[in-house]
């Protein structure tokens, strides 16, 4: 099915387009080589990394996530559902990033842990650590597979290779890039990638809007489309949530998507949190996600809006939306829009932007996987206390193995027509119970190590059970689409909290002396602040910045309600 669908879409790239793509690769590799050279001659690189201003860490923070999820998944949702897709940004990501900066970052940064699983180890001990590290590693492999699938489908469309050849070639390219660029160049490449994506998608959006008759023409045509006026207001979003009841839909979006899924994702995902943890001071660490929130709230205008434009202007997608028939997929909305609107030159820039985004996404998953596998799993539990070179070797083998496994998961991802369903499902399984356990553990000193891991396991099991019963798999209960994932995530959260509380009552807590920096009530307030925080200018204070961002995102929610 997928092969048939994609054999029809071709982009007519010429040498100018390939030249632009080639320059991008040259810069990505160049950054890797420069980084490596400067590391060998001096420690400049790490230092300039540490003295990078907060706008760089903030952009790297959102860039690490600006891969397949945002661009393909969100434009697909935009084409399918319209404005309700804004919830992923304005109810989901942005409030969660502000919450991370204000509430959770002081724990992560203050306790001096190097990874999210390590925090788990300090707070709840090895069993919870093992559960967390393994589920994180598995999730990274699955998500790397999705990124790889999307990357391979672009290569296929561009060069006309069969999907399986594209999969293997794309995987080999990412492997080389990961090995050459290395982890040290990651932040630089992410920041570069952010600007290339904006340079690719902003002109596409503007040309698209011009084509459909400006903003008024855009809203008129969407309202006349099969989705109707409903696609021009973000609430109640019944089509997105898959509930008939408007009230349930609002609850599902606010609690399921907003509170559980997005908070779980943005506050416990090591790939994201690591960026902020690497900052030079507490206030800089807090500022990273908060500064990232400002561009993040405008990303939907260059991702969701082009998806919606594709659904009213690209012939194949218009027909697909009206009749449900045809061989296109919403996932390809942006590609179709590029084919229809962009001349050679701009087309190359757009292709470079998409390749950049998917490659960086997969590289981030693979390197996060191999860090957690090598240190949190292999070094902690399997082969302890060997020399450093040995673990570097383990990391290399893990990288190759992860790439091979990602090819397998990519084939699995290809059988879903809407990648977002798949991603949401995964976040429900892994991140939602994690968020519940972290929040309880940070604010309730009595919570025991046994409660830590049993809550996680029970929560994840609850999510899997709901998912299996939903229309996605067996159809025993009548919820499908995104709603199934919202309910699974909600169930994971509630079950995690219940099990944690019940188990805590009957098991022994950790001694309070071991919990400083890990639990709110046992940590001196000064541990949560820089000594010089009073001297910061107003625009450097995390709480003031977060307040401004909150007002802006509430304004956007009201404006497009």
């Amino acid at each position: 099915m997928v092969l048939a669908a994609e054999s029809q879409l071709r982009l007519d790239a010429n040498w100018i387009d390939y030249l632009l793509v080639a320059f991008y690769f040259a810069f990505v590799l160049g950054i890797g080589i420069m980084a490596r050279r400067s590391v060998s001659s001096s420690i400049d690189f790490f230092l300039s990394g540490r003295s990078l201003p907060a706008w760089v860490t903030g952009l790297a923070f959102i860039s690490a996530n600006l891969g397949a999820v945002e661009i393909t998944g969100m434009s697909a949702n935009g084409a399918d559902y319209g404005y309700p897709t804004f919830h992923y940004f304005w109810v989901g990501a942005v409030p969660a990033m502000l919450f991370l900066g204000i509430v959770m970052m002081p724990f992560y940064y203050g306790s001096k842990v190097r990874s999210v699983p390590e925090f788990m180890n300090r707070r709840f001990g090895p069993t919870a650590h093992l559960v967390n590290a393994i589920s994180f590693a598995v999730a990274q492999l699955l998500i790397a597979g999705i990124n790889l699938y999307l990357l391979a489908s672009i290569v296929e469309i561009l060069l006309g290779w069969p999907l399986w050849v594209s999969l293997i070639v794309a995987a080999a390219v990412v492997l080389t890039y990961t090995a050459l660029g290395g982890l040290s160049a990651a932040i630089y490449n992410e920041v570069l990638q952010f600007f290339i994506i904006v340079a690719a998608l902003l002109p596409l959006t503007l040309v698209g809007l011009h084509k459909v008759g400006g903003w008024d023409g855009f809203t008129d045509k969407v309202a006349q489309g099969p989705g109707g006026e409903e696609q021009l207001s973000s609430w109640p979003g019944t089509a997105l949530a898959g509930f008939d009841s408007e009230l349930l839909s609002v609850i599902g979006i606010v609690f399921g998507l907003g509170f559980v899924l997005s908070f779980g994702y943005w506050t416990t995902n090591f790939v994201e949190v690591q960026r902020a943890m690497a900052s030079s001071s507490m206030s800089a660490a807090q500022r990273s996600p908060i500064i990232g929130a400002f561009p993040k709230m405008f990303v939907p205008f260059i991702v969701i809006v082009p998806g919606m434009i594709a659904a009213i202007s690209v012939q194949e997608i218009v027909e697909f939306k009206e009749t449900g028939q045809g061989s296109v997929e919403y996932n390809q909305s942006i590609l179709y829009l590029m084919r229809d609107l962009l001349p050679n030159g701009m087309l190359g820039l757009a292709i470079a932007g998409l390749l950049a985004s998917f490659m960086a996404g997969m590289a981030a998953n693979i390197s996060a996987f191999n860090t957690v596998f090598s240190y949190d799993l292999w070094q902690t539990y399997v082969v302890k206390e060997r020399e450093d070179d040995y673990y570097t070797g383990v990391g290399r083998v893990a990288t190759v193995a992860a790439t091979v496994i990602a090819i397998g998961t990519a084939t699995f991802a290809a059988s879903y027509s809407n990648v977002m369903d798949y991603l949401q499902t995964l976040f429900g399984f892994f991140n939602a119970p994690l968020f519940a356990t972290f929040i309880l553990g940070m604010f309730w000193k009595r919570m025991t190590p046994t409660a830590g891991w049993t809550g996680l396991v029970a929560g994840t099991a609850a999510a899997v059970t709901v998912w299996v019963l939903s229309e996605d798999v067996t159809g025993t209960i009548a919820i499908g689409g995104q709603g199934g994932a919202f309910v699974a995530a909600g169930a994971a959260f509630v079950v995690d909290v219940l099990v944690s509380v019940l188990v805590t009552v009957v098991t022994a807590p950790k001694p309070e002396s071991e919990l400083r920096g890990l639990v709110w009530s046992l940590t001196p307030r000064k541990d949560f602040h820089d000594p010089d925080e009073q001297e910061l200018a107003w625009y450097q204070k995390p709480t003031i910045l977060a307040g401004i961002a909150l007002v802006m995102v509430v304004g956007l929610n009201v404006l497009f309600a």
Binding site: I16, L19, L20, F23, Y24, F27, G30, I31, M34, S38, I43, D44, F45, F46, L47, S48, R50, S51, L52, P53, V56, Y188, V191, L192, F195, I196, A199, P203, V207, H210, K211, S280, D340, L341, L342, P343, N344, G345, M346, L349
Partner: protein, 82 residues
């Protein structure tokens, strides 16, 4: 604190971003000026998207370079004092 410092120079990410955006700007500008057929124009609804994007990229590139000149990244030489 008296510590030795120097500028990050070529390792400043703003120089990297500015250079790539500048190269893209030049290529798109030239394509827009000399390589745009009527069919290309019709495709993007009469807008010369290469020309305008090229100009916008060159302006952005200039801003990055000017910014990195005005506010250079200063790197302390001793890691422990950074």
């Amino acid at each position: 604190m008296a510590e030795r410092k120097h500028e990050a120079g070529a390792f400043d990410i703003r120089v990297f971003i500015g250079s790539l955006l500048g190269i893209y700007g030049v290529i798109l500008l030239l394509t827009g000026l000399f390589g745009t057929s009527d069919a290309d124009l019709a495709k993007s609804d009469g807008l010369n998207v290469n020309l305008w994007t090229g100009i916008a990229l060159l302006v952005s590139a200039a801003l990055f370079v000017v910014w990195s000149r005005l506010r250079p990244v200063v790197v302390p030489d001793d890691p422990d004092e950074g």
